[in-house]
């Protein structure tokens, strides 16, 4: 089971600011272990955020996004109490979705 994302969504003046902290090793595939063998790449490569089921952001990532990825973005048209959901998928088919209410 993966660790939950921390999502904070705050609406002010019609604009909702979403800040997400994901828990993921984001292994680049370039590092080598103690035995010299490369550690296989394992990183989030797709992110999707929705507001009440409607897409508000999509992202494709490479291995260069930092470990425990941080993401912040802003969108209009939401109200306090609405739900924002964030889903990530990684290069091994792992996936996780978390959601939060807009405050």
């Amino acid at each position: 089971m993966s660790t939950p994302m921390r999502i904070r969504a705050v609406e002010e003046g019609g604009v909702t600011t979403v800040r997400v902290l994901m828990a993921h090793v984001m292994e680049t595939g370039v590092r080598r272990g103690a035995d010299g063998a490369p550690i296989p790449a394992h990183y989030i490569n797709q992110v999707e955020a929705t507001h009440n089921g409607r897409n508000v952001l999509s992202a494709n990532w490479g291995a260069a996004v930092s470990q425990n990825p941080f993401l912040a973005f802003r969108f209009r048209g939401a109200a306090k109490g609405d739900r924002v959901a964030v889903r990530w998928t990684d290069n091994r088919g792992g996936t996780r979705t978390d959601e939060a209410a807009i405050t």
Binding site: R31, A41, L57, G62, A64, Q67, P69, R74, G93
Partner: protein, 150 residues
């Protein structure tokens, strides 16, 4: 949702098989359906994204002038160009320059913050697609300790 899981797992499995057979390199497998993520030079990445962007001062890059830790460099990219539908973050001197590509639907501000790894001091290149055309801005961030490990 279950169909998506099965599709992702099937696709990953198919690609994994191709990688195991040596038909597709691991790099290509990572990049399947994702233009630019297999490119190992800035020029190739830009070509994959759609061509040579025009320089603009309407894209703002917020990043440290000097980053102590190249593994975690905060980068913010925002565009005031009309109808910005995509934002790209590239680190010119990384082994794979394209770090992130964002699709901005209507109603979302073209204003993204994230954190990237930088292997060494490098230009950060931000590209925006505005009304279908590509524009870019550049900012140099120096790195004290490179962030790719290995």
């Amino acid at each position: 949702m279950n169909a998506n899981r099965r599709t992702v797992i099937k696709t990953s499995g198919a690609m994994a098989t191709l990688v195991a057979l040596g038909i597709v390199t691991a790099q290509q497998a990572h990049a399947a359906g994702r233009p630019g993520f297999e490119a190992r030079s800035l020029q190739d990445a830009l070509r994959a994204v759609g061509g040579t962007p025009a320089a603009t001062d309407q894209i703002r890059i917020v990043s440290p002038d000097i980053a102590e830790n190249g593994a975690v460099v905060p980068v913010g990219v925002s565009s005031t160009l009309p109808n910005t539908t995509e934002l790209f973050i590239l680190v010119e001197r990384n082994p794979v320059p394209l770090a992130a590509a964002f699709t901005i639907p209507r109603g979302t501000e073209p204003d993204i913050q994230t954190r990237v790894r930088m292997g060494e001091s490098s230009n950060i290149v931000a590209v925006a697609r505005s009304d279908g055309r590509l524009f870019s801005a550049v900012k140099e961030t120096k790195v004290t300790l490179g962030g790719c490990g290995g």
